[in-house]
Symmetry: C2
Subunit: 273 residues, 2 copies
């Protein structure tokens, strides 16, 4: 396992270098950052262990993952009997499985190339329990945010790159909030499909085949719907001829523009701007 891990570490680090902003791939700062990085493989369903001390910056070299927040359960003891809180493995954590119990919100889906800020567990009770969970097998490059930024301070381009990433995440999060606030189930599902088409296949109109790495439950948890409602909406969209489905994860979007309209967006201007 040591060998395999070493080579996939190499691949992941290369992917990270390649993602750095123009010209930084081979710079001194890149070397320093890589030296600082921890490589992490997550099997499908595994969670990146949470951390109470440091915010983390995570680069996804490959795979797909969901960032979830468990709503703090009002009633019982969170720790399952016999699990020592001070885990021996510093990073890896047991599979928390999608099909778990209580309320959990999927905050975002992330794919290869994304850089994600995973905040440390707050001490405030009003803050949830944030976790990054693998949907596929995936390779991560993990940094302590503080350590990363301490280094990056010497290279403002890199710092700005991280800032741009977090502003984009903020924008996506806000756009998502709009959905959760004011959209119907139909609109949310249509919007979800359109945005997945953008991120997984770069298509913004016409037709498009998608392989969704997430379950119906994940989709529901991310949109604030139950799996039954998600399923019903898929059926209705299929009946309406907007999508076709095959198996659990393959979805064919027949007409992205029409879906965007179903999502409540105005007709896309062909040559806007």
């Amino acid at each position: 396992m040591a060998e395999r891990s070493a080579s996939s570490r190499q691949l992941s680090i290369e992917a990270f270098r390649a993602a750095l902003p123009a010209g930084r791939a081979r710079s001194a700062i890149a070397d320093e950052l890589c030296a600082l990085s921890l490589h992490q493989h997550l099997a499908k369903g595994d969670a990146l262990a949470c951390d109470h001390r440091d915010d983390r910056l995570v680069f996804m070299a490959s795979g797909a993952a969901k960032l979830v927040a468990y709503l703090p359960a009002p009633a019982p003891v969170p720790a399952p009997a016999g699990a020592p809180p001070a885990s021996p493995a510093p990073l890896a954590s047991a599979a928390i499985g999608a099909g778990s119990n209580g309320a959990m919100q999927v905050l975002a889906f992330h794919f290869a190339g994304d850089i994600i800020s995973v905040l440390r567990q707050g001490t405030r009770a009003t803050e949830g329990d944030f976790r990054l969970i693998a949907l596929d097998d995936c390779e991560l490059v993990v940094f302590s945010t503080d350590a990363f930024l301490d280094l990056a301070q010497s290279d403002p381009i890199v710092l700005r790159w991280v800032l741009a990433g977090s502003l984009q995440a903020l924008h996506r999060s806000r756009t998502r909030m709009m959905q959760l606030g004011h959209k119907s189930a139909r609109q949310r599902i249509a919007d979800f499909l359109v945005s997945m088409a953008e991120r997984l296949s770069d298509s913004t109109s016409g037709a498009c085949r998608l392989i969704l790495p997430m379950s119906r439950r994940d989709i529901g948890d991310s949109l604030g719907l139950t799996i039954e409602t998600v399923s019903r909406q898929f059926t209705e969209l299929r009946d309406a001829g907007l999508i076709e489905t095959k198996g659990r994860s393959l979805v064919k979007l027949m007409d992205i523009s029409a879906l965007a309209q179903a999502a409540g967006y105005p007709q896309l201007q062909p040559a806007l701007r």
Copy 2:
């Protein structure tokens, strides 16, 4: 008006300097940033004009404001007849009034001392129309994000300060998403009150008097509820003895811990961690 504006500009800039991270208030970078800044007064109800070219960084020197996203209305022409798109005033914009028509989502409330990233209008139709609207009279210090960061590149401490702000906004946005996804009206209102207590009066337990600068409609739009539901929940919380209200905007929280529980959070550990 020139005089009054000049002096309030001075005050605002001082507030901005004071908010800069430790020791930067009188540094060269502060001077350069201030030189770059635009001061802006917004009367209650006014909106910071949107901009299609630049992202903006806005420092709130005083007052309170809401960041809203208008959902692009599927049907009609957005521009009211006779309003020239190229407005004479480069920054200010007419009051869009709270009581407007279509669906609008309040993404966040902001108060004195906050630094806010107002993204430029996207060209994508799937993106909303973002605006910062004054709830009170307020004083702003406005920067072009690009210009600000170009300067801040020479001072990583400042850059990191901005990054910290945007990560906090991201965190708040995600926490809000959790609410919108999985919480009942009662829980949302209780959570809203608790978080306002934290931000407006720094209280996290016990009792607390609040003067809410936003209308019921704003609260509803921010939580994804109608004003009727907001009103009913206030009534029920009052009947339950958790709050008292006087007039439109004064709310007295009788027991913040109890409200936090009503918001669906576990009992606050007195000495957690």
